[in-house]
């Protein structure tokens, strides 16, 4: 009887063993950093508790290795504008020199590069700002027919007009061998400045997202020379072929000559939908295109690209080029699914995700508070300013650059060095959770526009890079007592705060401020397996751990 029990239990044990393996595998994947901003919802949040989320261990954070990319060849530029992704302890990142690298996560040793050394770099002949320097788009990790794969976007002079059309590459994550290369996605058909007969499309910073067995990526332009028609393209994950069933264009019809609404930001995916934000349409155009989906946060059907809703806070008449550069973060909160992003003009907008059927979006709040849409004469301005970085989501808290309560009075400059944390679901009076002028940044300067990179968060511990090459770690005041309290309006002294009608909010504690080499204003710290991986414009990739 006993023997019989054991034999009957054997298959059960195998099932349990397999369950454990699957469980551990899933948990290991979750601890890694598989996409720009962590996941398809672009939460920029590592949900697993590790040493990086332990305030007692963070002060021990130190550089464990540094890897420097080779100097650029012809057509290349030094520096990393992309951010690392991490899978199976391998770090993947593209460089301005036009090469894509896989590094050993433990040692920083180069495992492989693409293209191979001596091959032509992935660079474009139309170079006007860092979005067109080599590989500026961050990668995504996925599984293609049972093989771990890494997907990234880059210009490629081997196709099209041989000038550097943008396309997607899928490589075997272990070996760097090609799995597929997409057809041309961003067209570059000439180099004539200002030409309206040539295509000057660019993938730029729009990191691909893997979602719904497709890879979605946004199309912008080459530094508005001139602006192009913004698009989102979907390719099939298994083959890299463009899916003709999905179509999204920001202005008019996909075939007409209207232009604008570039998709500079990373596309997001959640539920049955794709989300993105768009750039301006007014530049160089005497009349408003119809439809005009520029300067909008948009929810699309994942299969067709049809618009479910569009939120356009800045109408065409006020379009002073406040391109929406931060993508949409999809937050799962106690008040439901919230879609949130900060526009380049400094206002952060939070929307209820709403149903999947077409209809107007429901705005939850805007900060600083404003009447939306903005209207001529309302005292607001919406220009080409620099609130461009994505935010980080932690439970009901959203952490991001924001213009602050003094935005309309003092202008945009003061907020460039500042992070705000918002209680997404709270009442208006409790919206602002904390704010901090991040240390390790340059002093305020009216001629400087970039101070901070994209913040990331793990269980309330915030990581952000700065223009002076510092990695700064900040603790939510629920975890570590605040350094002190300050007035919610940055222009009002503490002594005058309450009397002026504002309130005190915490200034969170800085747990660590580590100087590295090179600006980190385009980059995000990837928080994987208890380690921080971050790249800089100084051409270095760093691994830090407590």
């Amino acid at each position: 009887m006993k023997h019989k029990d054991l034999s009957q239990s054997l298959p059960l044990s195998i099932v349990i063993f397999l369950m454990c393996v699957i469980c551990l595998s899933g948990c290991r994947k979750e601890q890694e950093w598989h996409a720009f901003h962590y996941d398809s919802m672009r939460t920029s949040s590592q949900p697993k508790s590790t040493a990086l989320s332990d305030p007692a261990k963070v002060p021990n954070l130190a550089v464990r290795w540094t890897w420097t990319a080779p100097a650029p060849g012809p057509g290349g530029n030094a520096g990393f504008r992309a951010s690392p992704v991490v899978n199976d302890n391998i770090v993947y990142i593209g460089n301005g020199n036009g090469f894509f690298y896989a590094l050993n996560g433990d040692t920083g040793a180069l495992l492989w590069q693409y293209p191979s050394a001596g091959s032509p770099a992935l660079v474009t002949q139309f170079q006007c700002n860092p979005s067109s320097y080599g590989i500026a788009s961050s990668a995504a990790i996925t599984d293609i027919n049972g093989t771990d794969a890494v997907i990234f976007a880059a210009p490629d002079q081997s196709i099209g007009m041989h000038l550097g059309d943008g396309r997607l590459f899928a490589l075997n994550a272990k070996t760097g061998a090609e799995i597929w290369k997409s057809p041309v996605i961003a067209r570059l058909t000439g180099l004539t400045s200002g030409s309206k007969t040539e295509f000057h499309e660019n993938i730029g910073y729009s990191a691909p997202v893997v979602f719904n067995n497709h890879v979605y990526v946004g199309i912008g332009d080459q530094c508005d020379n001139p602006i192009q028609k913004g698009r989102v393209v979907a390719v099939r994950l298994d083959t890299g072929a463009i899916d003709p069933a999905f179509s999204y264009c920001s202005t008019g019809t996909c075939g007409d000559s209207t232009r604008g609404g570039g998709v500079w930001s990373p596309v997001s995916g959640a539920g049955q939908n794709v989300y993105m934000t768009t750039g301006n349409t007014k530049s160089g155009s005497p009349t408003e295109p119809s439809p005009n989906n520029g300067l909008s946060m948009i929810k699309l059907d994942q299969n067709s690209g049809a618009i479910i809703w569009k939120f356009q806070p800045v109408p065409w008449i006020l379009d002073g080029d406040p391109d929406w550069s931060a993508g949409a973060t999809i937050m799962s909160t106690s008040c439901g699914k919230v879609v949130i992003s900060t526009m380049k003009d400094g206002w952060t907008h939070a929307l209820d995700d709403g149903p999947t059927v077409p209809g107007p979006p429901s705005r939850r709040w805007t900060f600083p508070p404003a009447t939306i849409p903005f209207t001529p004469g309302d005292g607001t301005t919406h220009g080409d300013t620099r609130y461009m970085r994505g935010g980080a989501a932690w439970g009901d808290v959203y952490i991001a650059m924001n213009g602050g309560l003094n935005l309309t009075v003092s202008g945009v400059l003061g907020g460039y060095r500042r992070l705000h944390a918002f209680n997404v679901c709270a009442a208006e009076a409790d919206r602002l959770r904390w704010l901090i002028d991040v240390p390790g940044t340059s002093p305020p300067n009216p001629f400087q526009r970039y101070y901070l990179g994209h913040p990331t968060v793990t269980n309330g511990i915030v990581y952000v890079g700065t223009d002076l090459g510092h990695l700064v770690v900040i603790a939510d005041p629920s975890l570590v007592p605040a350094a002190g309290f300050r007035c919610s309006n940055p222009d009002v002294t503490n002594a005058n705060c309450i009397a002026s009608g504002y309130k005190f909010v915490p200034q969170p504690a800085v747990l660590k401020d580590i100087p590295l080499s090179g600006r980190m204003v385009y980059n995000e710290p990837a928080l994987a397996n208890g380690r921080v991986y971050i790249a800089t414009e100084g051409n270095n990739v760093y691994m830090l751990s407590p």
């Binding site: 029990d5 009957q8 059960l12 349990i16 369950m19 454990c20 469980c23 551990l24 948990c27 601890q31 949900p47 697993k48 508790s49 989320s53 106690s334 600083p368 404003a370 209207t375 004469g377 309302d378 005292g379 607001t380 932690w394 439970g395 009901d396 808290v397 309309t408 009075v409 003092s410 003061g414 209680n423 709270a426 959770r433 904390w434 002028d437 793990t458 309330g460 939510d476 629920s478 605040a482 350094a483 002190g484 309290f485 300050r486 940055p490 222009d491 009002v492 002294t493 503490n494 005058n496 309450i498 009397a499 002026s500 009608g501 504002y502 309130k503 005190f504 909010v505 915490p506 200034q507």
Partner: protein, 157 residues
């Protein structure tokens, strides 16, 4: 029947321990968080060392101002131009705003009421109004928040 029950219990317990073990092995998920508790009372409040670059200075209860830009008169242009920001706290009473000259005002944020002499006008973001030299100016902010204005004041000394 008992044997089947026993096996089921064994399986359930083993699966539960396995799941818990694997969670411990890779770290737990942090919990979401709501708003922070309110700040402590003023006497216990530890203030940060943050100092605004161009702070508003309180000139009377409920009224703060700051100078943005000043043009001194010259023999060629005998005008003194003072660009200043005005911040009025929310409250029931309108505050007197001393202005040295004639001015043009623009509401930058908030809403309230302006009274010039005996005339009153509602204000909202983007509203503008003017003031002749020597007129008395009073501004009230609505109860829900302060009102901030930018003033361009001109005077011939």
């Amino acid at each position: 029947m008992n044997i089947v029950k026993g096996r089921f219990m064994y399986f359930t317990l083993f699966a539960a321990f396995s799941a818990a073990g694997s969670q411990m092995a890779c770290g737990s998920r942090g919990s979401a968080t709501g708003p922070l508790p309110p700040p402590p009372p003023p006497e216990q409040l530890k203030l940060s060392d943050y100092q605004p670059q161009k702070a508003f200075v309180q000139v009377s209860p409920g009224l703060s101002t700051r100078s943005v830009f000043v043009v001194e008169p010259t023999t060629k242009d005998p005008y003194h131009v003072d660009v200043l920001d005005i911040l009025v706290a929310p409250g029931k009473e309108a505050v007197s705003v001393p202005v040295q000259g004639a001015g043009v005002f623009e509401v930058r944020t908030g809403s309230g009421t302006v009274t010039i002499g005996q005339k009153s006008q509602d204000l909202g973001t983007g509203s503008t109004f003017s003031l002749a030299e020597g007129e008395a100016l009073k501004i009230a902010a609505k109860a829900d928040g302060p009102i901030a204005l930018r003033a361009y004041v001109v005077k011939v000394p």
